[in-house]
């Protein structure tokens, strides 16, 4: 379970960043007081255009970034005061495979299992199960640099799931992947749900969201502009496509923000 309460994240800007963003402000609000809850056995989708604050939110949940204000709890543990307890319960996966080229899949997975403090027996069982399910055994001795993107993605999944996390965080997990590899990820997300795990994922591919998620939130310019179940979202915007509905929500939010801050 993930509980996000009134969370904000502010980045201070250096000279170079101010120049790039063409602003004179000393800081920028990436996320403004957002609140939502993800429940076990359900898939929560975080939607939003590029730069909306999705990745920042997921990084705060994953303890990579600290919230400037507000509170995030993962399985009852606070991400700020007990980051290591939170880390032991989460798995984090992104679309880019992010692996060590000179290691083999076996070495990669073993490295992360050891960092998660897994005992040898539990690690061997989990590794065997994951490698068998995803067919990694065939190339487990091969170095990652010599693998295809699909193979790498499988290793990346095994690395993130080796410690059997209760909460799985996917940051645009299918971005840049081919159809077959993307489908493997979608299957994994479904499997996590079946196993009763709490799943949160960010995306801007509406077909994926439609296929998978139970609950959704839309973020625009750091603000949470919509939050409900997927069924209610479909009902509210019946007659138009989900993509059109998403655009409408974001555009309305942008208009309201402009009216509030003329």
């Amino acid at each position: 379970m993930i509980n996000v309460q009134n969370v904000s994240k502010t980045y201070s800007l250096n000279k170079q960043q101010k120049k790039e963003l063409q602003t004179t402000a000393n800081s920028i609000n990436a996320v403004n007081g957002i609140s939502f809850e993800c429940l076990p056995g359900r898939i929560y989708s975080l939607l939003g255009p590029n730069g909306a604050g999705k990745t920042t939110t997921l990084r705060m949940i994953a303890t990579i970034l600290k919230p400037t204000s507000g509170e995030i709890k993962v399985c009852g543990e606070n991400v700020t005061s007990s980051p290591n307890l939170v880390r032991s319960k989460i798995g984090f996966l992104t679309g880019s495979t992010n692996l060590y080229d000179r290691l083999t899949p076996g070495e990669t997975v073993e490295y992360f299992a050891k960092l998660h403090g897994m005992d040898k027996k539990h690690y061997e069982e989990r590794k065997d199960m994951l490698f068998t399910t995803m067919g990694i055994h065939d190339f487990s001795k091969k170095r990652i640099a010599q693998m295809s993107t699909g193979m790498k993605q499988k290793v990346s999944i095994a690395r993130s799931m080796i410690h059997d996390p209760e909460v799985v965080i996917f940051d645009e997990p299918t971005s840049g992947l081919d159809v077959i590899t993307a489908n493997n990820i979608i299957d994994l997300i479904r499997k996590c749900k079946e196993e009763g795990k709490t799943v949160i994922f960010s995306s801007h591919i509406m077909s994926e969201v439609d296929l998978l998620c139970d609950d959704l939130a839309i973020i625009s310019k750091g603000d949470l502009v919509f939050k409900d179940t997927m069924d209610n979202f479909r009902k509210e915007f019946s007659g138009i496509s989900l993509t059109q509905a998403f655009i409408q929500v974001v555009e309305n939010a942008d208009h309201n923000q402009k009216v509030e801050t003329p």
């Binding site: 307890l85 000179r102 960092l115 993130s160």
Partner: protein
Amino acid sequence: MKTILTVFKKELIDTLRDRRTLLTAILMPAIFIPVLLYGMTKLTSIIMEKEENKKLKIAMLDAPAEFISKLDTAKFELVSGMTLESGRDQILADSLDAMVGFPSNYVSKMAEMKTSKVNVWFKSTNLLVKDRMTELIDDFENDILDQRIAALEITKDAIYPIDLLRFNIASPKEQIGQTVGGFLPYIFIIFCFMGCMYPALDLITGEKERGTIETLLTVPASKFNILLGKVFTIALVGLSAAVMTIIGLFLATKFLPDLPEDILESLSAIVGWKFIAMLFAMLIPMAIFFAGVISAMIVRAKSFKEAQSIVTPVSFIVIVPALVAVLPGIELNWTTVMIPILNVALATKEIVAGTIQPAYYIVVVVSLIILALISVAISYRQFSKESMIL
């Protein structure tokens, strides 16, 4: 501790599989030093031998017959018909090696037992020409001196009242300390720094460039332990580079041509357990200091290129104190003992010479340990900042 070991083991495997790091940190120092030393010594001796045996083409202006008759035709070829201008032109054009000019009053000066000027024209770019011409004139002058001693009916002792005898009582070990002792730290400090540089770029910046840092930060391990595992790997590679340099240097001396037997014996005597232990006690904290400094500097870099541009100028800062230690007159004292890198270089020089004072050595080691701890603390501070690592 378990996390540090896990990260250390993984980073070591990863680093040892990186050809570029292996080449820079292990192969280069192991091969570069012997090849450089052996090659340079061999090449120099070949060039010197060739120059010494070369028949010099020389011209003479108004030379007396006794000087011309003294010329060894096996070593010199006399070119006739030269004027001052044509001789100078031919020397500049490399078709003549040197020219000797006697003044018109030479004969009368000799008759009056006075000093006469003799001019020699040469090009300093031509090796050994000046030395060989000086030797030729000196021989001729000695003959004149013998004639004058005979004519004045005096002994040589009357002209040379002092017979200077020099006794160098420095042990071969101390003499080596002055030569090898100065050169050795200069080389191993530079290679230690370079040895740290390449794995640091890969393990710190590479982690960011590949995007693996994000996943690494979601494991239940402290950033400090992760960083320590990385710093120890970087330091180990730097240390290996320094050790390979030292091994390479001592191997090279075994095969150096014309190295006196006593020098070789002294070199073998220097490389004992005491020398190794004293050197390691300085090298380990120095390598950690380098690893910490480089890590702290490149944490903010987003790419290899950016990290390289940050760290490359620092290598010049490292070279300067290492180079200063080679200069004559720079010794270990209560001031130099506190200057990082310079203190290691000077202490090594004195360890090799066997003249190191225990108090100085202890201060050097303690100051290096303190610097290593400070550098790791600074790099941890940088590594802990969100803005630095993402």
